[in-house]
């Protein structure tokens, strides 16, 4: 159910449910007489040891012991004891409670799902996924196995402490707005040029230490070229989605929380960009997302084409409500504070950046890129999570994977 049509009662029920889970922290986690206290230290592994690896691992918290490092470029030194090149072997270890995943994004969903299927908790570097259907599968795994999942970006935590954001969220989620006129912009810092791809990569010899087949994984097998790896993978649809996908989760986690869009998605998406290359992520000017309640999100790259000039930034305030409704909103309780990955692991409550909230942020990015790639205005069904009336675009929502990898 999208939140745009959510009744106030239903919203409060949701708040209540979350609040109650706060009150029913199993007493075991507190220790004490007659109760078993949780282990003070968790066994952990880092999967994907390149650029963001160390930082992502640090997000697991202080009480973890790094038992294994895994990377497809460790082919020449993997001992399957401390160093691995195949994440499946890491997940078989019984002493590993949690994993930090910092591979390129085409592996994020599959390794997250596999880790949760193996009973591990997961902290995954952003972006959460490479396409929309992956997000739904990650959610399914988190819920099915009662795991803790947190995306490695924390914009929604900041927003959840900001008084203006808290009020805006209440206004939106109260369901009392007759027509939302809000327009929220993110201008620039999408690294469009920096993380665009090269258009005619030529085959190069595969480095001896690299398991290239495993690197490609679920994506189409292509000849090795160094530009497909090492951070520059960001510029190719096979592995990510340009600077928009890479930076977008940073930029939109907070607004999605503030504007109550962490359980729904836009219904119309329109992009202005250059016709897309089949492999390399390219140039775009802006993307406009309209939600069912009237809220608009605008991505403006500032790096290509004519600047966006359709709408002006406009917040959502109490002035948008009738006087009686303002009082109702002010009387609404605050959401309980979002909890960190570390606390979530100890208390077995969902982390602040759980899969079902971050998936909606990732969906914004994917819909943006689909609109850019397709070059047409899209209509999206946030409940079915499908593009309506455009078969080609819809195939980008759920993309086939190279066997034996699949969702």
């Amino acid at each position: 159910m999208g939140t745009d049509n959510l009744s106030r009662r239903a919203f409060l029920t949701g708040v209540a449910a979350t609040a109650a889970t706060v009150t029913i922290v199993p007493r075991h986690c507190l220790g004490g007489p007659g109760q078993t206290a949780p282990s003070d230290t968790f066994g952990a592994a880092l999967i994907g040891c390149g650029g963001r690896g160390g930082g992502t691992f640090g997000g697991l918290g202080p009480n973890v012991k790094r038992l294994a490092d895994c990377d497809v470029k460790f082919l020449d030194k993997a001992d399957n004891k401390k160093v691995y090149s195949d994440f499946r072997r890491v997940l078989e270890r019984k002493d590993i409670d949690m994993v930090a995943i910092a591979t390129p994004p085409h592996w994020h969903a599959l390794i997250s799902i596999a880790a949760m299927q193996a009973g591990k908790d997961v902290l995954c570097e952003k972006p959460m996924t490479r396409f929309i259907a992956e997000g739904r599968a990650v959610i399914e795994a988190e819920k099915r196995y009662g795991r803790v999942y947190q995306i490695g970006t924390y914009g929604r935590f900041g927003a959840s402490h900001d008084r203006n954001s808290i009020l805006t969220r209440k206004i939106i989620k109260s369901g009392l707005l007759k027509q939302c006129k809000g327009v929220h912009f993110k201008r620039g810092d999408f690294k469009v040029k920096e993380w665009s791809g090269k258009v005619n990569l030529q085959p190069q010899p595969i480095p001896k230490n690299l398991d290239w087949d495993m690197y490609c994984g679920p994506s189409p097998f292509k000849p090795y070229n160094v530009d497909r790896t090492g951070g520059r993978h960001r510029g190719y649809w096979d592995y990510e989605g340009g600077g928009l996908a890479d930076m977008g989760q940073h930029h939109w986690e907070g607004p999605c929380w503030t504007y109550g869009k962490d359980e729904t998605s836009p219904v119309e998406i329109e992009a202005y960009g250059a016709p897309a290359h089949p492999e390399a992520c390219g140039m775009w000017g802006w993307v406009e997302h309209r939600f069912a309640d009237g809220m608009t999100f605008v991505f403006a790259s500032g790096e290509w084409g004519e600047p966006y000039n359709r709408l002006q930034q406009r917040g959502v305030t109490l002035e948008d409500l009738d006087p009686d409704d303002r009082k109702k909103v002010l009387a609404m309780p605050d959401d309980p504070p979002l909890i960190s990955f570390e606390e979530a692991v100890k208390t077995r409550k969902p982390a602040g950046g759980s899969s079902w909230t971050s998936h909606r942020t990732a969906t914004l990015l994917h819909l943006s890129n689909i609109a850019i790639r397709i070059g047409r205005k899209l209509r999206y069904d946030p409940d079915k999570q499908e593009i309506v009336g455009d078969e080609e675009a819809n195939r980008l929502v759920n993309q086939p994977m190279r066997a034996p990898w699949h969702l």
Partner: protein, 791 residues
């Protein structure tokens, strides 16, 4: 020529089948080592330079006259992007003209376009690939008028699949068909499922088309190795019920990858006839294969529930719950437990799970009871509540509250007087979550008279209870409370609620005889006060050094005692300052007036706090007072004022900051002021304003650190004036490299302008950078940009 590459693909894929040992793939052939590579490359290059390909080299018809020239009009890559080689982006209108010209020639023209694609490593086919792919997207628009073009395109792509083009080119074509293929092309694509190199891209195209299970099923008997896994996976994704028998046989395949793929396919198809075989396969599997098979079985149960086959689903969940008893598989039991809870008509499984010592199972059981029970959930929970022991009653009450079903309210209110404190607290929390006037009155009545954890629970409940009527109920309780502890707790609750309609009763707490209550009132007012409460708040701040304070510690709650004893009088002062800082921006002028008046005779410690409050007020009156303090006699207060001025929130403080930086004898004050100016430049304003501020910093700063910081901001201001400010910094040894990098960043967008004076300045600046910098990467980048400008 293609066979070398294709064999390499096959060799690489073997890696998927290895479990513990992952063979290292062979080296990918290099361009020069490929069979016929050199000759072919030369031929292709000649052909491309000539604008067409040799029909003899390709064995196909030559492109129509003009097609190669048309494709050549696509802008070259490797311009415009910061990254070398980044895609240059033509606009859609330019490309549409090209599409329409290509499409005018129909299928034949598109075949010729596909003929311009080359194998990887054999030349640059960027423009042809780009036109083909983007044209595909263009003709796939949902427009009946595009139907003819769609047919021509897909016919052309299919024709390529049966030609003698290299397999890598056919793979590219299949990747296009993955997005645009439809049922009429399925049979032709299906023929490639038996091709070792093209099976995978063909399968992906067919999965995209969707109604293609027959083709995969027919291919299954002959498929082997990697192809067999691909076909099995596709049958699963397409949920082909007719393949179940064959897939069940594959559960016994000698190859573990095939067994897992079959199990996963069966799980997705959702046929109950496969359940026992899948469970048996999972029982026998080990390590990661067992993990995947467990998941497949759970998926099967979910599929069965979706078609209302609860009996078989329940049997699967029960089997997993009973057999996956190794602690390492408790997550599988967790999944089974949630499934069982959704199907059972009683709570026995969940109640048992809630009592387990396993934290993870217990937590999920509790959460499932809140969100995973059906419509009879509340009744089942109320029945269980009647019979439960105290510990379980507390958990059940929490669950009932979280479910937010009003039907549970009578039972919850009844438990507010339970003999067991934990039960009472759980009932308070549940009532608070459910909300409503009746619950609010009951919880407020408890707050008035309670202590300890029960009071804490009641206050927390009131703080977060929904309903506008709660404010008044909590304020009424505040007046009734005889002891300080309930008064403090209720004040805190009103503050958290931002109960602006109850400001007066909260402000009355400022005059309370108990210091803890006064602090609680201040903290609450920080969240909700209006102008009317300001005088009383300032008075408290001014008098917080009052000698009566220590004597007021008697009989206040431990937390407040600790607050005040640890920090001496910092507690009261801190609370007051926080309150005023929060209120000040809302009533800047009035607040500033009150604070300035209080400053005159306030003790120094409190004067410092008052100056900080002036910073929060941020109005003209406050600024003048802060400036005066920077020139006062008390050194400590001058320090405070310099900090406040340096943090001034807008440009109104800029002139005073500059004055302080230029005239103060205190080096710290100079730096604080300069950093304030740099911050203001970074935070906003027009480019000209930014440059003006940064210019003043450059002229005033004595230390390189501030100049470096200024350059860091300047580099994001791409104007001629900015460039002119940065260039002289190249002559300063301390900041030369920072200046060089800033100039590069400023010059990049300026280089795209057309004005001669700008381009002249850019050229001059870049030339100076190439001579001044000692960093080769900076020099190279500058030279590259310089070359562009010179063009």
């Amino acid at each position: 020529m293609h066979s070398t590459f294709s064999t390499t693909i096959l060799t690489r894929r073997v890696g998927h089948f290895a479990k513990l040992s992952v063979p290292r793939p062979k080296q990918q052939p290099q361009f020069g080592k490929m069979r016929y590579g050199c000759v072919a490359a030369v031929l292709l290059c000649v052909a491309l330079v000539g604008g067409t390909l040799s029909p003899a080299a390709r064995g196909e018809d030559a492109p129509k006259t003009g097609l190669a020239a048309l494709v050549a009009t696509v802008p070259d890559a490797d311009k415009g992007g910061r990254t070398p080689g980044a895609l240059t982006a033509p606009d859609l209108d330019t490309m549409k003209k090209i599409y329409n010209e290509v499409l005018k020639g129909g299928k034949e023209n598109i075949v010729a376009l596909v003929g311009m694609l080359v194998e990887p490593g054999q030349g640059d086919d960027y423009k042809a690939r780009y036109v083909l792919h983007s044209m595909m997207t263009y003709v796939m628009r949902p427009d009946p008028e595009a139907e003819k073009d769609r047919t021509a395109l897909t016919d052309a792509l299919i024709a390529t699949l049966s030609s003698d083009r290299p397999k890598s080119v056919k793979a590219m074509v299949l990747q296009e068909l993955k997005w645009c293929g439809s049922k009429p092309q399925a049979e032709a694509i299906g023929k490639l499922l038996s091709d070792a190199d093209l099976c995978e891209p063909a399968a992906q195209a067919l999965v995209g088309i969707k109604d293609t299970a027959d083709i995969f099923r027919q291919a299954l008997p002959a498929a082997a190795g990697k192809n067999r896994v691909t076909v099995i996976q596709a049958l699963g994704v397409l949920r082909d019920t007719k393949a179940v028998d064959e897939l069940k046989k594959a559960l016994a395949d000698a190859d573990p990858v095939t067994r897992v793929a079959a199990c996963e396919a069966l799980g997705n198809i959702g046929d109950p006839a496969a359940a026992d075989a899948m469970l048996a396969a999972g029982d026998a599997a080990k390590d990661f294969d067992r993990t995947r098979m467990n998941d497949a079985v759970l998926l099967l149960a979910k599929r069965l529930i979706a078609v209302d086959n609860k009996k078989d689903a329940e049997r699967i969940y029960a089997k997993l719950w009973e057999t996956r008893t190794d602690p390492q598989e408790r997550h599988v039991r967790i999944a089974a437990l949630q499934g069982l809870a959704s199907l059972r008509t009683d709570l026995n499984d969940l109640l048992a799970a809630m009592k387990t010592d396993d934290l993870q199972i217990r937590a999920v059981a509790l959460r499932t009871a809140v969100t995973g029970l059906g419509p009879n959930g509340t009744k089942m929970l109320l029945d269980a509540l009647e019979k439960a022991a105290p510990r379980d009653r507390a958990d059940l009450l929490a669950i009932l509250g979280a479910r937010a079903d009003p039907a549970a309210m009578p039972a919850i209110l009844g438990m507010l007087k339970d003999p067991d404190e934990k039960v009472r607290i759980a009932a308070i929390q549940a009532a608070a979550v459910l909300g409503g006037e009746q619950a609010a009155q009951a919880v407020a009545a408890i707050a008035v008279a309670a202590a300890g954890k029960e009071l804490e629970a009641a206050a927390n409940g009131l703080a977060r209870m929904p309903g506008a009527e709660v404010n008044g109920i909590a304020a009424a309780a505040l007046k009734q409370a005889a002891e300080p502890a309930p008064r403090m707790a209720l004040l805190s609750a009103l503050g958290i609620r931002r109960a602006e309609d109850q400001r007066e009763p909260v402000a009355a707490g400022l005059a309370d005889k108990d210091v803890g209550v006064r602090i609680a009132a201040l903290k609450a007012l920080a969240l909700m006060a209006g102008e009317a409460q300001l005088p009383a708040m300032v008075k408290i701040l001014k008098e917080s050094m009052d000698e009566r304070a220590p004597s007021l510690l008697i009989a206040v709650p431990p937390a407040t005692v600790k607050l005040l004893t640890d920090a001496k009088d910092e507690g009261e002062r801190g609370a007051a300052e926080s309150a005023l800082v929060a209120v000040a921006p809302r009533s800047a002028d009035k607040c500033a007036g009150l604070v300035i008046a209080a400053l005159a005779d306030a003790p120094p410690e409190n004067a410092a706090a008052l100056i900080r409050v002036l910073g929060a007020a941020g109005c003209k009156k406050a600024l003048e007072a802060v400036i005066a303090q920077t020139k006062g006699a008390n050194a400590d207060l001058k320090d405070v004022a310099a900090h406040v001025l340096g943090d001034w929130r807008d440009r109104a403080g800029a002139a005073s900051m500059l004055d302080l930086a230029q005239t103060s004898a205190n080096e710290t004050h100079q730096v604080l002021a300069l950093r304030g100016l740099i911050r203001l430049a970074k935070e906003g304003g027009s480019p000209a304003e930014k440059v003006k501020l940064l210019d003043s910093v450059m002229k005033t700063a004595k230390q390189p650190a501030e100049k470096r910081s200024a350059l860091g901001v300047l580099q994001d201001v791409p104007t001629l004036e900015s460039l002119q400010l940065a260039v002289p910094c190249l002559d300063n040894d301390d900041i030369r490299e920072e200046a060089a990098e800033a100039i590069l960043k400023i010059a990049d967008p300026l280089a795209k302008q057309k004005a001669d004076n700008v381009l002249d300045a850019v050229r001059d600046a870049l030339e100076k950078v190439t001579k001044a910098t000692k960093r080769s990467n900076v020099r190279t980048a500058a030279q590259k940009l310089l070359n562009q400008v010179k063009k």
